[in-house]
């Protein structure tokens, strides 16, 4: 393999990894605060992608600008799901809670996916804009514009989320609830509102990831579970308590997948993530980016 094509593989791994990071961050946020695992996160991502796609198709809106539509739409869907379903699970305790959240969200995966097939058909949809084909070329390595913008959006989202969580009161309330919900409640935080808002925020992050996926790969109703899986692997890589650690972990997964895919053949690429998952659990179950 030449040095250029290796560099190209690395660069594309980073681009993909940025999306993994954003997709996983929403899931990690919900997991860290509500202590439940939302298997339907990938389906929310898929819905966010469709919001962008339809905004593009009907209004001709630039897919990156249509984040302004996709985020509020998914925020509302998140609120709705929290009020109707997840509210009942958040109240439960410990093992029971995580088990029920797994079961219920697994069922929800099926519901959302089949609704999407029914509403949008099973066809794969793509978004074509005039800068899709273009890109920079540095030392023989291509940097497509769409992917550069995606990575920038992923990075900005991470920074904004970091600022929000650590520097503002609502964000601190979220982190406080994640750390100790009883103490947070005693301190006067309305934890049920925190739960609701956090879930909606997680859905909004899914909308961002879904938009990036739609621009770069295209979208179909069946992509949800694949993205859920990537997000889960990234979370295990980052350490289950770490929210912002999802971003570097996502990039790491993207790069490792891309490089190993280049060596062992792309048809076995999916296996790599699983092997990483198992290896991390055996060698360092607290995650690579977890703080002790």
């Amino acid at each position: 393999m030449s040095i250029e094509s290796f560099a190209q593989t690395l660069v594309f791994g980073v681009f993909v990894g940025g999306i993994y990071g954003i997709a996983a961050m929403g899931l990690a946020l919900v997991f860290g605060v509500l202590k439940m695992l939302n298997i339907a996160h990938g389906e929310l991502l898929m819905l966010g992608g469709y919001a962008t796609f339809w905004a593009f198709r009907t209004f001709g809106l630039d897919p990156f600008l249509s984040l302004g539509i996709a985020i509020p739409v998914l925020f509302l869907i998140g609120l709705l799901l929290d009020r109707t379903i997840y509210r009942h699970i958040v109240r439960q305790l410990g093992e029971e809670k995580i088990k029920n959240s797994l079961l219920v969200s697994f069922g929800l995966t099926l519901v959302i996916q089949n609704l999407a097939i029914w509403l949008f058909t099973a066809d794969e949809r793509t978004v074509q804009v005039n800068y899709t084909g273009g890109g920079l070329n540095l030392f023989g390595v291509a940097f497509p514009y769409a992917r550069l913008i995606s990575l920038a959006i992923a990075l900005i989202t991470t920074l904004v989320l970091s600022y929000f969580l650590h520097r503002t009161y609502p964000g601190k309330a979220i982190l406080g609830t994640a750390e100790d919900f009883e103490a947070a409640e005693l301190a006067g935080i309305n934890i049920h509102r925190v739960y609701m808002m956090t879930f909606a925020l997680g859905a909004s992050l899914a909308a961002i990831a879904g938009t990036l996926v739609t621009v770069i790969y295209g979208i179909s109703p069946s992509i949800g579970i694949v993205w859920t899986l990537k997000s889960l692997i990234v979370i295990v890589l980052a350490g289950t308590g770490s929210i912002l650690g999802a971003f570097p972990a996502g990039i790491l997964l993207g790069v490792v997948e891309a490089v190993s895919g280049a060596f062992i053949g792309s048809t076995y690429r999916e296996v790599v993530g699983l092997v990483i998952f198992v290896l991390v659990l055996i060698l360092r179950p607290e995650g690579l980016f977890a703080r002790k």
């Binding site: 379903i85 069922g107 899986l229």
Partner: protein
């Protein structure tokens, strides 16, 4: 409220009812098996054979999930992986001129071996790692198989010529009985106390000296073995299918839904659930076509949230309501 005086007179009639009750369940089981053996033969129609076959296949798959999740408390979200491995190995070996019985057993063993591979690292840790791992295995296998073996697997001509549904149905029926029997024996074995203790409270079980990991792995081995055999039956019955089809998450979902509808952690649950599920699906698939999966999904969520005991629990509840009226 004043307590009602407790008055229970043992009459001859009541001891008769009691002894009747003791024989009722074995009698019902024998009756059900006899019905399952004789009825399809009497009718001898393609759709009846198919219906009964599906019920048996789903009973097996769901009972195998029940052994793991209902008894040992370990939620697998990737049962399709074991089902799919069983189907894949059995089909490949069988069409490669291996005797079917050998291929069938090999499918079950391959599924169990694979299950150990994911169970050993994830079972050491608490929490959702096992669920994530199994979900991952199933999806990764589905994608990898569909990319590497994208063509439909069809039975070759000579096999097609001698194809008959009846022996396939009886294999499925035998497997359903064997799986439920194994679950019954497991519950009566000394292992059951450890397995149930792990489900109720892992930490307490460990403190009492139960080897948690070993009990979890035992449940997983049994569960995945039977799920693999179910896959083998599927591979034996289907004339042609995409090799990636049995890895679809839908199989996992069917197993979950059936166990929950019937009653999680009970022996009868998966049997009752499978009969109920297949009959209802047969109807819904005709009337609602595309969105019948949506209905099932919502139904499942409601059961998990509102009525986690399923039909078996509902029946017990009904009896508990009726009994006091009769005794006072």
């Amino acid at each position: 409220m004043a307590q009602r005086p407790f008055k229970q007179v043992m009459t001859g009639q009541q001891t008769f009812i009691d002894s009747l009750r003791r024989w009722l369940i074995p009698f019902g089981v024998v009756l059900l098996i006899l019905f399952a053996v004789i009825y399809p033969q009497q009718i001898d129609k393609q759709n009846i054979w198919n219906l009964f076959f599906l019920i048996c296949l789903h009973t097996t798959l769901s009972q195998s999930w029940n052994i793991l999740a209902g008894f040992a408390g370990q939620t697998s979200l990737g049962h399709a992986a074991f089902f799919g491995i069983g189907a894949f190995v059995t089909r490949t070996l069988w069409l490669d001129e291996t005797p079917f019985s050998l291929a069938f057993i090999a499918g079950g063993l391959a599924a169990a071996a694979f299950a150990m591979l994911i169970g050993a690292p994830t079972f050491r840790l608490r929490g959702a790692y096992f669920a994530i791992g199994t979900l991952g295995v199933a999806e990764v296998l589905r994608i990898t198989v569909s990319q590497n073996v994208p063509f439909i697997s069809s039975m070759p001509g000579p096999l097609m010529a001698s194809y008959e549904l009846a022996p396939r149905y009886y294999l499925a029926l035998g497997l359903a009985i064997a799986t439920t029997g194994a679950a019954y024996l497991l519950l009566r074995s000394p292992w059951s106390l450890g397995i149930l203790a792990v489900r109720e409270d892992e930490g307490a079980a460990q403190a009492m000296g139960v080897h948690v990991l070993r009990h979890k792995l035992l449940a997983l081995a049994l569960s995945s073995f039977f799920a693999g055999l179910a896959g083998g039956v599927f591979a034996f019955q289907q004339i042609s299918y995409y090799p990636s089809a049995p890895f679809s998450a839908l199989w996992t979902f069917d197993a979950l839904l059936i166990a929950f509808v019937g009653g999680l952690g009970t022996l009868a649950g998966p049997v009752i659930g499978a009969i109920f599920f297949i009959l209802v699906r047969q109807q819904l698939a005709v009337t609602l076509v595309e969105i019948h999966q949506v209905v099932f999904g919502i139904f499942f969520i409601v059961i998990v949230l509102v009525f986690p005991g399923g039909l078996v629990e509902a029946w017990r509840h009904l009896r508990r309501v009726r009994w006091p009226k009769r005794t006072t």
